[in-house]
Amino acid sequence: MMLSVKIASVAAFLAIVFIAVPVLIAASGRTDLYYTLTSVALLSIASAGVWFTFYIGRINIGQGAYALMGGYVSAILVMNHGWSFWPTLPVAGLFCAAASVLIGLPILRLRGVYFAMVTLTLTEVARLLALALPITNGAKGIVSIPLPGALSVFGLTIIPDFATLQNSRLAFYLLAVTLMVVCFAVMYRLVHSRIGKLCQSLQQNEELASSIGVNIAYLRVIAYAVSSFFGGVAGAIFAAISQSIYPSSFTVTDSVNFMLNCFLGGLGYVFGPMLGTLVLYFGWDLLFQTGQFQLLIYSGLMIVLMLVLPNGLLSLALPSRKS
């Protein structure tokens, strides 16, 4: 793709999410859409993490565990230790990344279905831990977390106090979308860097990669940590938006959904998870009117999509790499 086309499409995307969407929502008065779009943005951050583990050839169904962990870290720091929300955001991410290094060192040796199954049970472990640990307040969860306060650097207020804002939904939307843009920019940069190429070599053949001197053990732990960092950050903001976190906030279903978002968007494309999340989340919302048939139609459509486009939605627009 030409550089100018790239810049133009990025500019168009930014214009849409930062200007067009708020203007349209203000014009139509559908402020409830803010919440939907914020969720899409956050879920796509978590899905981007899952996508990156796909990129090293691992099927990750454990992102819900890190999202839950991130949410709890942020909530506990704000509630019990009196932190402001903003520093807890990177701390939650880093905590998840550190945890994922510890967990990842043994389990990243597993491959294929074994890794998928272990990460799936990891989500269940996180839920059970949240129920059992005293600091997480068990099944009652942590509730009435205050909204994020003001953030100022050298006396200059960068982000106003969310509680004083008239429209905190818009503020959360802008926050989530900004993070999403940053996250996908980072992903794009990562994938097109030297590390990205090395990760791709892991996806194709780990033994071969290792034989030509790629440090596979190090790389896959790094990739998993990056993935979990995104999960933790997304979970922390979710806790702040809903002002609560429960052991059931992120369950196995969420973990599976993160994986499905990646599949649906297409595993070969960096922006696949974003598109997949948008389509799945909105599809689910739109089908709400069908009442009890919602899940039936939704899953039926998913099966049909899979039969028609087994390589993801973006495989329509972009030529397949294999051919």
């Binding site: 074994y114 199954m117 049970t121 196995v252 599949f263 899953s299 099966i303 899979m306 039969l307």
Partner: protein, 288 residues
């Protein structure tokens, strides 16, 4: 102590039967069947309808569960999984399909049978109480039936023509095809058998624990655990995994009772440690 072991054996027999179906499908197709728990629930509801509602004999209900699920499994393989495997660039794509079918089954079960917990009349009344072991007779019957099904399955895989073909397929798909094994046909039979096993366990257990539409996911997770312990795609591994998980659950519920509901937490932790030492489970082949 005897009680704990007896409970563990009983749990193990039914768990092993669940894991067998999952591991069979995995061995033949390299598909991780997320819908396994949902198939179990479907089997349970069919037995509930035929035995509990219509009042027909239990054996017929069990047969109905098994046959219905076998047909569903065969159709799933033929029209869904085979197509996707052929068209997809990465074989992991079947996981999306499997997850979608799991959601689909959930929806169908919810629409057809509602969300209530359902149970059926006991098949055998009375309680066995001797030598410090207390065990209702129906559990003994179900445990024995599960053991018979496991034995029948193993013998069938070992000595029948179909079983031999499927073992060849699991060992090396291409080589089996070159030797004249009809790969497509035996994949379909294998998928049908895996689904049938899930349906049969569902039918067996509905007489004891009952069934409700929400337990499909947790059952799938338990089946994954057993397969991980024993090693994916190995019949012996699935049986071993089932009995080990049953035993651990039985012991954990007794020993860890005073600490609250932490049995599964302990099992998961033990599994992590175990898998870091033996990544392929007890008997599994390396996968990659």
């Amino acid at each position: 102590m005897e009680q704990v072991i007896a409970n563990g054996l009983y749990l193990g027999a039914q768990y092993a039967l669940i894991a067998l179906g999952l591991t069979l499908i995995f061995a033949l197709m390299n598909v991780l069947n997320f819908a396994h728990g949902q198939m179990y629930v479907l089997g349970g509801f069919i037995t509930y309808t035929v035995y509990g509602q219509l009042g027909l004999p239990f054996v017929m209900a069990l047969l109905a569960s098994g046959i219905t699920l076998a047909i569903i499994g065969a159709l799933m393989e033929k029209f869904l999984f085979r197509t996707v495997i052929r068209r997809s660039l990465r074989e992991e794509s079947t996981m999306l399909l499997a997850a979608a079918t799991a959601f689909f089954f959930d929806a169908v079960i919810l629409l057809l049978f509602g969300e209530k917990q359902r149970g059926v009349p006991k098949i055998v009344k009375g309680v066995f109480n001797e030598g410090g072991i207390i065990m209702p007779y129906d559990r003994l019957v179900v445990g024995a039936l599960a053991l018979i099904f496991i034995a029948a399955f193993v013998l069938y895989m070992q000595y029948s023509r179909v079983g031999r073909a499927m073992r060849a397929l699991a060992q090396d798909r291409v080589a089996a095809q070159l030797m004249g094994v009809k790969v497509d046909r035996y994949s379909m039979i294998g998928f049908a058998m895996g689904a049938m096993l899930a349906g049969i366990v569902g039918g067996l257990l509905v007489t004891i624990t009952g069934v409700n539409s929400g337990i499909g996911g947790p059952i799938s997770i338990k089946a994954f655990l057993m397969v991980m312990i024993g090693g994916a795609g190995v019949v012996g591994g699935a049986i071993a995994g089932g009995f080990i998980l049953g035993m651990m659950e039985s012991i954990g519920l007794t020993v860890l009772r005073q600490y609250g509901d932490v049995t599964y937490l302990a099992i998961f932790a033990a599994l992590m440690v175990f898998l870091s030492i033996r990544p392929n489970g007890l008997m599994g082949k390396p996968w990659g």
